[in-house]
């Protein structure tokens, strides 16, 4: 089926406008003028309603000026004197247990093994002292967080992070290892949140790591998850 198989639109009852009339020169007929005027009307009304509604909604509003898909500034790999510095590393349970990361795009990534080791360290520290230098951050929506998350992970939805960051800032500034995750797979909210944590919220870039395997890989490896709004 194509448009050419359908009947022609009804003929206009009015004569076509004179091409010398600048106000109607853009319309080939009054029928087309009406059609395009209607299109413009719908677009203008929709835009006005959309922007007004977006500006007054308390949740799920889009900040029109915000870059939701930022890239992390490159981690410097050289000192001021030109001498290269060691690549950033994640420390596991043992301070000497160094885990290499990938600094090529400025984002430090950790594998499942690293994430598991850091999780175990965090749980041990929390059990012993009630606090930890490891902080897991869940960048997913509230519904997904409450459905299941890594025990101890704080909720910081990337698209509402500007409203949530203040409550978490003390912990983020205290943590030496901020490990951000989302679902994994094609989810890249953890990467964007990691970039924002550094560039927008002033968390040291060298403290931020992304667990790209995400919750899906975590669950596949039979690691513990909990549901609900509580962290633990």
């Amino acid at each position: 089926m194509s448009s050419s198989e359908l009947p022609d639109p009804p003929p206009s009852p009015n004569p076509p406008p004179s091409s010398s009339d600048p106000s109607t020169a853009a319309c080939s007929s009054s029928s087309n003028c009406g059609l395009m005027t209607g299109v413009l009307t719908i677009l203008v009304v929709a835009s006005m309603v959309a922007l007004a509604a977006n500006s007054v909604r308390s949740t799920n509003a889009i900040d029109l000026g915000r870059d939701y898909f930022p890239k992390l500034p490159e981690v410097s790999t050289s000192k001021g004197n030109g001498e290269p510095t060691p690549l950033p590393v994640v420390t596991g349970t043992d301070p000497g247990d160094q885990i290499p990361v990938e600094p090529d795009d400025g984002i430090q990534r950790i594998s499942f093994d690293d994430a598991r080791d850091n999780f175990n360290s965090a749980e041990d520290e929390f059990g012993a002292t009630g606090e930890s230098i490891y902080l897991f951050i869940d960048a997913r929506s509230r519904d997904l967080y409450e459905e299941s998350h890594i025990p101890g992970a704080a909720w910081l939805y990337h698209y509402e992070s500007d409203q949530l960051i203040d409550d978490l800032r003390p912990e983020l500034e205290m943590a030496f290892f901020v490990i951000v995750y989302c679902n994994g797979g094609d989810c890249d909210d953890s990467l964007h949140l990691a970039a924002d944590l550094s560039s927008l919220y002033g968390i040291p870039t060298e403290n931020i790591y992304v667990y790209e395997g995400g919750l899906n890989q975590w669950v596949e490896n039979q690691m513990p998850v909990i549901s609900g709004s509580e962290r633990r």
Binding site: L6, D8, G34, G38, A50, A53, N60, L64
Partner: protein, 165 residues
């Protein structure tokens, strides 16, 4: 012969009514879902890789405005007010987004276990319905495109709705 049959069918107004109801309620649903949570649509717009990410207000504004365009088109189709203009807009949106959904589906073939062919791919196209099989989505879009075109080109005088002028 075919055109004559279509013309006779169109005069009954039934195809127009079906087009208005089906496309109208579909766009109402899609638009309302996106308005409720615009973030998945914003992410899908980014995932299609056809819009510039900078300046960011372009993609952000589209994520806010397009769902309302869908809802207003749905209202126009269902009421019959500005029927042809709404049909032109739904036709344009479907003609624009359907190839993008196809491109998204093709880009995911072979990227995961089980995504052996296009019809195996399950993805969130940002259409307001979450992760869905791509092939049925494409078929649905093609059907909606035909119905939108019908509403745009129909000369039936019955079931046009509107204000009765």
């Amino acid at each position: 012969m075919v055109i004559e049959s279509l013309r006779k069918l169109d005069v009954t107004g039934v195809p127009l009514l079906l087009a208005r109801v089906i496309v109208g309620f579909t766009f109402l649903y899609y638009g309302a879902e996106k308005i409720g949570d615009p973030v998945p649509f914003l992410k899908s717009l980014k995932g299609y890789e056809v819009l510039p990410l900078h300046p960011s207000w372009i993609i952000n504004s589209l994520a806010v405005i397009v769902p309302w365009v869908e809802v207003l088109c749905a209202a126009a189709l269902l009421s019959g007010i500005q029927l042809r203009s709404a049909a032109l807009l739904t036709t344009a949106m479907l003609a624009l987004f359907t190839p993008m959904v196809l491109k998204l589906g093709l880009s995911l073939v072979g990227t995961e276990a089980g995504f052996e062919s296009l019809c195996d791919v399950v993805a969130d196209c940002g259409c307001g319905s979450g992760k869905i099989p791509i092939c049925p989505k494409l078929a649905t879009n093609c059907g909606l495109l035909v119905l939108s075109l019908w509403a745009l080109r129909s000369r039936s005088k019955v079931f046009r709705g509107g204000l009765g002028t």
